[in-house]
């Protein structure tokens, strides 16, 4: 009789977690050998992956976790498993969160402005075409 394959710990990381020495040491200390790498662009699939079963979720940095949370891509309040953020790094200070929130807001405002400018330009071009065709 073979033991069932352990379910992997889900690790959200911009780079391959296998190359992350301190993280690997921390995972070993928790006796978690099996891991699955979730890239930041796939983070909206994390809720479903957690539902399928995992011993824990690990984000390798605070910006990765907070961006996913504030962008509404993940819903950790629904998870029944431990969540760790940058477990191998030093704990962030309260001021760090302010800086992270400011950066997130700045980035989202810039994207929103760019999208609004492009959409407005297309709408103006379309409206102009209609007015010209109507002979106004």
């Amino acid at each position: 009789v073979t033991a069932p394959t352990p379910q992997p710990v889900l690790i959200v990381s911009a780079t391959d977690p296998q190359q992350h020495g301190a993280l690997q040491t921390w995972l070993s200390s928790q006796n978690w050998a099996a891991t699955k790498w979730i890239k930041p662009r796939d983070v909206d699939e994390l809720d479903a992956a957690v539902q399928r079963g995992t011993p824990a979720v690990v984000f390798t940095s605070w910006p990765l976790y907070l961006d996913a949370l504030w962008d509404n891509h993940i819903h950790p309040v629904d998870w029944q498993v431990p969540l760790h953020v940058d477990p191998a790094g030093p704990p962030p200070s309260p001021r760090d969160f302010v800086a992270l929130h400011n950066t997130w807001q700045h980035t989202r405002r810039r994207i929103r402005l760019t999208a609004a400018l492009i959409l407005s330009a297309i709408a103006i071009a379309a409206a102009t075409t209609i007015l010209l065709l109507a002979g106004i």
Binding site: L119, A126, A127, I130, L133
Partner: protein, 265 residues
């Protein structure tokens, strides 16, 4: 009714070709039409077969009526109307959709973000204009030049219009799809295209409206995430299927009717 009969043949032929490919791949026959269970290479072949079925139906219809296909379809493309009608249609659809997206963006119902790596995104966007033209061209030939025209020859305008709208909307659910709540949106879309065809008597305006819409919907799709309730703002490539989108489609239909007139409904 020949046109309706031929259109009803399409799902039967699609299911048959899918079943043949599944049988060839040693997989069980599926009740629904969807290519997910086919091996990757057969999915491409299945798409090719589907397009061949559309082409065969389009050619068969005028031949069975005793017309030459070229002469039959060329009548729906009068050259003097080409540029103004296509431009008006495309500009109208693009204007309404961009205003809709702008409203959702400013009210934080949607967020724009790059959902794919740059090479994949650019590859997808590069194919959008041709896809928009092909989708508009084939669907307008099938549902307006073939079906609606036949219905208008046989029935009063309101009955032909209603049947044309329902068949067009239903056709989007022949294949297995993720969402069925989008049906009212497809009915409103069908009403727009059928009104445009009845108003002008040609395909330029419906093709312009259709292609302009597909261009924006598919161009925006890899760059957008919906956060608002689907019943209000729609989802994926269906922003027109939310309540506001349906109202916008009805308004655009009214604009087309006012601008181009046509027979009384």
């Amino acid at each position: 009714m020949l046109a309706l009969g031929l259109l009803l043949l399409v799902p039967i032929l699609m299911w048959s070709s899918q079943s043949l490919l599944l049988y060839r791949a040693g997989r069980p026959i599926q009740y629904r039409i969807h290519s997910r269970d086919l091996p990757k290479r057969d999915q491409q072949l299945n798409r090719l077969l589907t397009n061949a079925i559309f082409a065969a139906i389009l050619l068969a219809y005028p031949l069975l009526r005793g017309d030459h296909p070229w002469h039959y379809y060329a009548a729906f493309f009068p050259l003097p109307d080409a540029v103004p009608h296509v431009l008006f249609g495309a500009a109208g659809a693009i204007l309404f959709l961009t205003l809709l997206y702008l409203a959702w963006l400013l009210s934080d119902q949607v967020r724009f973000e790059r959902r794919h790596p740059w090479p994949k995104l650019l590859k997808r966007l590069a194919g959008v204009p041709l896809t928009a033209l092909l989708v508009a061209f084939v669907e307008e030939l099938l549902f307006r030049a073939m079906l609606l025209n036949a219905l208008l020859e046989a029935w009063p305008v309101p009955a032909a219009l209603a049947t044309g709208v329902v068949v067009f909307a239903s056709a989007h659910y022949v294949r297995s799809v993720k969402r069925y709540w989008t049906l009212p949106g497809h009915l409103a879309l069908g009403l727009l295209f059928c009104t445009a065809f009845i108003a002008t008597g040609n395909l330029w305006l419906p093709i312009g409206l259709h292609a302009g819409g597909v261009l924006i919907l598919m161009g925006v799709r890899p760059l957008i995430r919906y956060h608002g309730p689907p019943w209000l703002v729609g989802q994926s490539i269906f922003p027109y299927a939310g309540v506001v989108g349906i109202v916008a489609l009805l308004l655009l239909t009214w604009c087309v009717h006012i601008r181009f007139g046509g027979p009384p409904l």
